[in-house]
């Protein structure tokens, strides 16, 4: 009977190992979906998975990903922001005007643009939180106003070209050696986090995962990080905007998961009444969320304007919809209360992959709209369907 016994033992051992990895089925379905899109496109077009194209892909997804990071917070808090697309256009236009027309250098342009985004977020957030005007209306109004402001201030002309240093925000690549240094630094940082977590859990007397699993975890992360650096270096290096995405994603994941502010945002979205009765200042939190979201929109505007090396009248158009779609594909609930930043970034990658793959195949642009729309509906349909199944089970 020992063979049988052994099998059972192995299974329970494996199960325990798996629980240490906190298998989140939803996260893995998203990654699975992304990979299947990639495999599909690589079968349809041999260059899709080339280093050149992947580098382009990461460059293209950066602006949407930065918008989606801010949008996750807004949607988790139970609101929506339709203005970020026009805000990208307006703040990007402002940056280009200061840089091209008034010869401002890069640092003040960046600072003023970001401050402009924050100020607009403050005004929108104040009307929403303290004057109780629905976010849908306020940001719909904002969407029209900011586009109008862009036309009015720029005289409806394309503003180009930017100064080289500002341009580099969206177009530069990190030199190979620096890329490797970044990669190794990220690896050391990740390993430090894993070990620190172990130590902290041990200090509190909780179960600590076996060292073998910690090492496996670090090795996997290392392979992923160094593999990515190698891949990017085999073209021109890691794109600067993508570094920004990674840093922002890390910072905002920390805010969402590890700060009282982040926790309260999830509570407000999950049950505003319970949050209010627990003494949470809902108005102030919602205001802050909009400030953060619109500040990130200004960052996205800098990245996009720099990448295009021009502020155009249509820049950022429909970007709010891409950002919302990225959140939703990434598992953020429009009802509020749940969603992750990593999910939204994977969602942004899905959207960008569809765009990129279809243009690579020279499909007409109308197809891109149709396919992206259908994927959005499909993603939410699958999500709702699987949740219902779970409820029944």
């Amino acid at each position: 009977m020992s063979p049988n016994g052994e099998v059972v033992l192995d299974r329970s051992e494996m199960k325990r190992t798996l629980t240490w990895f906190k298998i989140d089925v939803r996260a893995y379905t998203m990654i699975g979906a992304l990979l299947s899109i990639w495999i599909l496109f690589s079968l349809l077009h041999e260059r899709f998975l080339s280093a050149t194209n992947l580098s382009n892909l990461f460059l293209q997804m950066s602006a949407t990903a930065i918008l989606a990071i801010g949008m996750v917070l807004v949607i988790v808090a139970g609101h929506i922001d339709l203005s970020v697309g026009s805000l990208v256009g307006f703040t990007g236009g402002a940056a280009a005007m200061l840089n091209v027309w008034y010869d401002w250098s890069t640092v003040p342009v960046v600072l003023v643009t970001i401050a402009l985004g924050a100020a607009i977020g403050f005004v929108q957030g104040w009307i929403i939180a303290y004057r109780a005007v629905p976010a849908f209306i306020v940001t719909l109004g904002g969407m029209l106003m900011f586009r109008g402001l862009l036309f009015g201030t720029s005289g409806s002309v394309t503003i180009a070209p930017l100064s080289p240093s500002l341009k580099s925000l969206g177009q530069a690549y990190i030199a190979d050696t620096i890329g490797w240094i970044f990669g190794i630094a990220a690896l050391i940082f990740a390993a430090y986090l894993v070990l620190r977590r172990r130590a902290a859990r041990a200090r509190y007397g909780f179960d600590v995962e076996p060292m073998s699993i910690s090492i496996l975890r670090m090795v996997l992360m290392g392979m992923f990080i160094l593999g990515f650096v190698y891949l990017m270096n085999s073209y021109k290096g890691i794109p600067v905007p993508f570094i920004m995405v990674v840093v922002l994603a890390f910072v905002f994941t920390f805010i969402a998961r590890n700060t009282t502010f982040g926790r309260q945002i999830y509570a407000i979205g999950g049950n505003p009444e319970a949050a209010r009765l627990s003494g949470i200042n809902i108005k102030r939190r919602v205001l802050t969320v909009f400030v953060l979201c619109n500040t990130l929109a200004a960052v996205a505007a800098l990245v996009l304007t720099a990448r295009l090396n021009a502020a155009t009248m249509s820049s950022g158009q429909n970007a709010e919809l891409d950002a919302i779609a990225a959140c939703v594909i990434g598992g953020t609930s429009l009802m509020g209360g749940s969603g992750t930043i990593v999910g939204a970034i994977i969602g942004a990658l899905v959207m960008a992959s569809l765009d990129n793959g279809m243009s690579l195949m020279n499909m007409e642009s109308f197809w891109q709209y149709i396919v992206k729309g259908a994927i959005l509906i499909l993603a939410v349909y699958v999500d709702i369907y699987s949740r219902q199944r779970k409820k029944v089970a």
Partner: protein
Amino acid sequence: MTAALEMRNITKEFPGVKALNDVSIVVKKGEVHALCGENGAGKSTLMKVLSGLYPSGTYDGQILINGEEKHFHTIKEAEEAGISIIYQELALAKDLSVGENLFLGKEPARFGIINWEHVYKESEKWLKEVGLNVSPEQVTGILGIGKQQQVEIAKALSKNASILILDEPTAALTEQEVDILLGILREFKNRGVTCIYISHKLNEVFEIADSITILRDGRTVGTYPAAEITENRVISLMVGRELTERFPRIDVSPGEVVMKVKDYTVMNPDVPGKKVIDNVSFEVRKGEILGIAGLMGAGRTELVMSLFGSYEGQSRGTVEIDDKPVKIKNTEQAIKAGLALVSEDRKKFGLVLGMDIKSNVTMASLKAVSSGGVINHNQEITSGNEYIRSLKIKANSVETITGTLSGGNQQKVVLGKWLMTTPKILILDEPTRGIDVGAKFEIYNIMNELIQRGVAVIMISSELPELLGMSHRIMVISEGRKTAEFTAEQATQELIMTAATGGKEK
């Protein structure tokens, strides 16, 4: 003469609870038949069975209308048989006109095009029937609650209702409006409309009813002609259960006064000029349980919500905590002042159901598990585990999502949240509603531990045995006023119910 309505041996079970147990009632044609009972006696459930809200087949027993057995599967079928219910919460579309409301769902139309002349002409007729002198083109929402109720009655009549059921119709009405309503009902009686009248207010019941059926704990106690029974007798039949349950009350010698509320008045935010709490004064001492008794809608929840800074209506009066006057405008200030409120609806007000136990427990005291705004997750898990252990919460881990817990365990998570704020005064609003006996007992024990530690507990409860069994003092609220206060030794079910139904003290 056949009865207008007969319900025979109705039994309705919910998982774990028998809401109705072999209930029978006979309503004669053209009478006003009052249905009396405590909160949770089964009145509303019985009416939901009658109105088809609980479809035929989900309960046992028979319903006979004019001697003919009926099986209602939908509300519409019950309406077609002439049954119309008017709920306490009026079901009118406030932005539509009175006429549109009257004909909602049965608009006279040809090819989908509504004949508005017909709507408004007919509406006028029905409004006249209920003595309401407003234009049918008036927007409904700007009418007072009393007039809106008359619109509801007109709507019921226009559906050819032969049996009109009014569920707590006077709860939100001013005295004048009550008089008008009772006048209309008397008029109906003369015209032979049968009426079932559910009310806590026994003076109204005796003013209008011909017969009274009393329910208690899901059973029929009996039906009596109103002329042959007294208010006191009705009360003792309503509460006349034996106190068999045992409560773990401990007798402590209460300490100094922690909270003193004086001349406290709370306005109804929806009905201008109406008070939900009228000039109430009371005090709570360290280490005692103050029970608050009262019937549904008496204003008990509004009182504590307002004290906690979370009620919309304006308030007047003074509140002192530890002899210092406090002004509490929001929950943040309330928590700082040492108050905690376990609200009556834990799903709506207590928990974020999609979050795990630890996040819910620490929600009101995140500062205690964080530094510089950064949460220490391990500290948080430790705190969560502490409450899981001390409150005996049954769950796999602190990371179990609260939505998947049983009612009793959910309630303990809410309790844990408030205990973590280390309150001086803990307010419990219906703390054991909808939870099983074992969990109830555990919650009583937790209350005892708290008062031994010197916490003052205020407990609102609709269950008289629980109030009598656990409280050291009991205050009774009736229609927003404090009508009595008893010590644990003085209080009886009859005395409390008399005070709660607005009866005079004898």
